[in-house]
């Protein structure tokens, strides 16, 4: 859906999406890295289980909710990637204790 412009010279940052290594760039938000990765990053909603991807990318819509380093319901569009970060595509509602 999206590709990186060649002028982007930022250093790479390796993150893991459901255990698979993904090359992000320093300064990417988690949501941007997911959308650029080409992987299926669709979460499913807590209400009906419908698939969603980020809609607004500015902290408003909460369709970017994702589990980051074991913590659920994080707004992926507001969190910058970090080396070794573990991302899990969140299916349904946040689980107790995560």
């Amino acid at each position: 859906m999206f590709r990186r412009s060649e002028q982007d010279k930022r250093p790479q940052v390796q993150i893991f999406v459901d255990g698979v290594a993904v090359a992000a760039r320093q300064g990417d938000t988690v949501s941007a890295a997911l959308l650029a990765s080409g992987q299926d990053a669709r979460r499913s909603t807590a209400v009906s289980g419908a698939p969603r991807l980020p809609y607004c990318m500015m902290g408003v819509c909460f369709d970017c909710l994702v589990t980051i380093d074991g913590v659920g319901n994080r707004q992926g569009c507001l969190v910058p990637v970090a080396e070794g970060m573990q991302i899990e595509i969140q299916k349904g509602k946040r689980e107790i204790g995560r």
């Binding site: 982007d8 938000t29 650029a36 990318m57 909460f62």
Partner: protein, 472 residues
Amino acid sequence: MTVAPKREDYDVVVIGAGPAGLAAAATSAEAGLSTLLLDENIGPGGQVFRAISSTPVTERSQLGADYWVGADLVQSLRASSAEVIHRATVWSLDRNLDVAVSIGGASAFVKARRVILATGALERPFPIPGWTLPGVMTAGAAQTMLKSSALVPDGRTVIAGQGPLLWLLAAQILRLGGRIDRILDTTGRRNYFAALPHAFAFLTSSYFTKGLSMMREVKAKVQVVSGVTELAGAGDGQLASVNYVAGGKRETIPVDLLLLHQGVVPNVNLAMSADVKHRWDDLQLCWSPVLDASGNSSVAGIAIAGDGAGIGGANAAVVRGRIAARAAVEALTPAAAAKLPAMAMLRADLARAERGRVFLDTLFRPSLQFRIPSGDTIVCRCEEVTAKDVLDSVAIGATGPNQLKAYRRTGMGPCQGRLCGLTVTELMAQARSKSPQEIGYYRLRAPVKPITLAELAAVPKSEDDVKAVVRG
């Protein structure tokens, strides 16, 4: 990154580091007031100057001269003594000017003598069939990715809607080598006539020549379909096609990415939760705070600057930020105000920046069918409530948005009505033959962004606080 505020009290707390907040915080700090700027994003700039200090887009002309203005604002802020905290989510503001902010999973509390809200705007909901499908995003979302990560659409892409941002985004995507297959312009035909009386101010404003050359640039490369009167996305768990009607002719095209835009509206959640009085703006079709000429709201000590005060664009936002900050300086340390530009001068700047706005507002006033959905179209994205659900609730007695919460949970999901509130107000107003003003809006309360109970429980408590809630 996860630094708590250095003090418990500030003269001025500014919330939001977009054009208005950057200008307000720099002005207030330069005048010698202790100033704290809290911002939810990773870096300064808000949406319009998103990633201004970090963008990987090095070809400056691709983002346009208007974008780089933001760098000067950031420089002024950094040269000032203002304390700035990013990734700081303000979740409560009250009449006592107590501010609660979540930083790195822990909450801090500060007290202000004046608060300047610069929480800006968000994109107007665009509730068409299929707008919740993966592959449908706002134009602003694509622009955010373009500015902060140099990402451009590369699948089959359609941009639909109306307004200046749509053309700017299209131009930027093309300059960065991205793909746009078609632009579907939803501007209502009648709007052109309605806007005509305001054309002179627009023609003599800075918007005109820039806007015209941008539209030419885009139209030379992309097929533009004007007069679009119906629009829907379709697909099974993923956007696959866009269906539209233009000039009475229906067409369906295969699409991977649909970017929607029909203007921006004030982000009212924090201001409303602090009890700031708002009124329905019938031209901009949104809630705007009731403010005096200095941006002061109905709550003593809270001023609002930037697009959160009513949509005026980035240039106006900067000036409104300076005006609100100057008013704060006048109120707290009148002697220091003499060092700042005179209020009369700032107001003249504002008038200049707002020139041509009425024309844009009238021309790009979104059509009824794109604001008030019907049938199975989702209104509340969080709780997955359809237009039919809302109308059924009205039929059995729901009178307004707050009653509707009890019927359908609209506005009670994590976005707290940001993506459905205007639609619910207008839909219920239409169904009940009332004005949006009469129907009203959700009663918003803190926390205005979700925080965990664990975070709340970890807040420092005095003995009195504990006694107030613990039995025995």
